[in-house]
Symmetry: C2
């Protein structure tokens, strides 16, 4: 096309330098980055299909197997956020018409319901008031009634602060020929979780919570049972971007030569690799202990302020994640809270 | 759960430091990062729903409007690679049963066919040997025959090096009540493209080519016509992660308060913001000129080596992208090629 005068001129705001303020991130969203992870984000590109990149991907896979405590070969990174991993799980495991049982005790279960409905599953939400978790008995009733192929549970329910116990649920599901899918976005690295031992068939998590990496990638692993279901489906999944067969190949989880599927987020993967390296160095048990101690300290400080916890049992506090799980941060939060409470009209606290 | 001995121990490879080799990236994949973009990747996190983040998102939107040459309010970033943007376009615009016409003269058209079929569209590929582009007449025949709601064309076909002319195609499509979707992943910033003037209804591109940002995010914009089609659909799109109504809200493209949808890739967005700032500073026309000149220089050097170009007309060389589009790089490539050719058995070159 012949050159034209530009209709849209360079935006003024972009001609100013980027300035990033200092923020201490103690919410349930992403957490701050430790220096080593920031440094990884500032490195130069390498080829997304180079030998060096494949090496980094292999290291990441091993790191995920470690933090998930699994030996599943089908373990990889999804090039998208936590929701994208949830969608990857559902779009590959469920076929239209499949029965899908959902622990819907907060926002994450609702999202699973929403996605399940979009892809045409018969979705059965086990609704529950926020703040509670599911018992084995409740789940067994759901399994017996709906004969689902898949059950969704949220391990750390970050919208309510509830920790879902997981012991026994895998076994129970398998007795009913159902697969168990667990969201550990907010709990991974913060509290014990044993994928293989607990019989979890599909486990996913995000990069941006206790792992302290930037948001944008997510971790996922599938048991052999889950793989069998996905590989014997009759229809192609609705998504090409998340098609597990393509992803498994590109992540070196089958024995075929790797084929180009999409361009992986090279720099984000550097950061993720470093976040997994940090937790491997610290040791998973030490990471769990650090979060437990920071949580206990927080609860003590909150009770000293006269505040009641929303949930019945003290649980993992998801706002203190990874490198942010320190006494200093708890002191800062509770001090701010105390100051704020002084400005509230006196109620029975 | 009671604490258990870990089944999987910390992987040895993760206990070694990350080391990233120097690679000059002159393939059709991602390109190298200029220092300013690398620096952005090394910055600290801020809240993904903070005022500061919304400001950066707004600046990015303006940057996209500039490089796309569009005034579309529905302009935003997809939290995934180029394929994810293609999927976002198709999953939102097409409903099952819709007729979809595809320019399939290389891999990208084939991918559009694949995704279109997954979501139940009636897909009509206009197959063509690699190395050619579509004429207005060919497209008009397809429009008349298949009455599609959407036509897909690849602007810069990076698997073959073909540049698809775009003048007149928007108008033609609109006469047939069809929307025009264009892939500019490999061409954006490298050759003239005027979304509004050329009547393109949906345009997407990647971060990792001429923009020189890391891979993992993609740019997309929708005309009012495209918006109308998406907002009046009868079924929900199969994807929640890519549902345009949610994304439009979170990117501030409607007048509702922003609601949490998924966690956006904060650090990748810093880098993208800087890549758009660099091109705003340089000026879009200067970026086009730089690529044109580097391409002409390359073609000259290749012909001097006795090599014939695969395609009939000299086109944009997609391996010289953004900051890599320099004479020095052309010299390095052609020198390496010359050396390699000396080892080939003599054929008629
Ligand atoms: C428990 C849980 N699941 C899922 C998500 C969704 O992850 P993302 O926002 O990365 O899409 C979150 C995010 O906060 C979460 O806390
Ligand atoms: C023209 C074109 N379209 C689409 C893509 C796909 O983008 P991604 O690999 O980021 O998914 C590419 C990537 O090389 C491309 O060159």
């Amino acid at each position: 096309m012949a050159s034209h005068k530009l209709l849209v001129t360079p935006p003024k705001a972009l001609l100013k330098p980027l300035s990033i303020p200092n923020q201490l991130l103690l919410g349930p969203g992403p957490s701050n980055l430790p220096p080593r992870i920031m440094a990884a984000g500032g490195l130069q590109m390498i080829g997304s299909m180079s030998k060096d990149m494949y090496q980094i991907m292999d290291e990441i896979k091993e790191g995920i197997q470690y933090v998930f405590q699994t030996r599943n070969p089908l373990t990889l990174v999804i090039s998208g956020s936590g929701h994208c991993a949830l969608e990857a799980a559902l779009v590959n495991v469920l076929e239209p018409g499949d029965s899908f049982l959902v622990g819907a005790n907060g926002i994450w279960g609702q999202r699973a319901v929403d996605i399940g409905e979009r892809i045409g599953a018969r979705v059965h939400p086990m609704t529950k008031d926020p703040g509670g978790h599911y018992t084995l008995q409740e789940v067994e009733e759901g399994l017996a009634q709906h004969k689902p192929v898949l059950l969704f549970l949220t391990h750390g329910e970050s919208s309510t602060g509830v920790l879902q116990p997981l012991d026994g649920f895998g076994e129970l599901c398998h007795r009913y020929k159902c697969l168990l899918l667990v969201d550990s976005v907010a709990s991974l690295g913060g509290t014990p979780l044993y994928m293989d031992r607990q019989g979890i068939d599909i486990l996913y998590s995000g990069s941006q919570k206790a792992l302290n990496a930037p948001p944008g990638t997510s971790l996922i692993s599938f048991s052999d049972k889950a793989k069998k279901k996905m590989y014997s489906r009759k229809t192609k999944p609705f998504s090409f971007y998340l098609d597990i067969k393509w992803l498994a190949n590109f992540w070196g989880c089958d024995d075929q030569p790797r084929m180009y599927h999409h361009t992986i987020p090279v720099i984000s993967l550097y950061s993720l690799r470093e976040s997994l390296a940090l937790i491997a160095e610290q040791g998973l048990e030490n990471s769990w202990r650090q979060h437990r101690e920071a949580a206990a300290y927080l609860h003590g400080r909150l009770q000293a302020l006269g505040l009641q916890l929303f949930v019945k049992d003290p649980v993992l506090r998801i706002g203190l994640l990874g490198c942010n799980a320190t006494r200093e941060n708890v002191d800062r939060v509770t001090e701010a809270l105390r100051a704020a409470l002084q400005h509230c009209p006196k109620k029975k606290l």
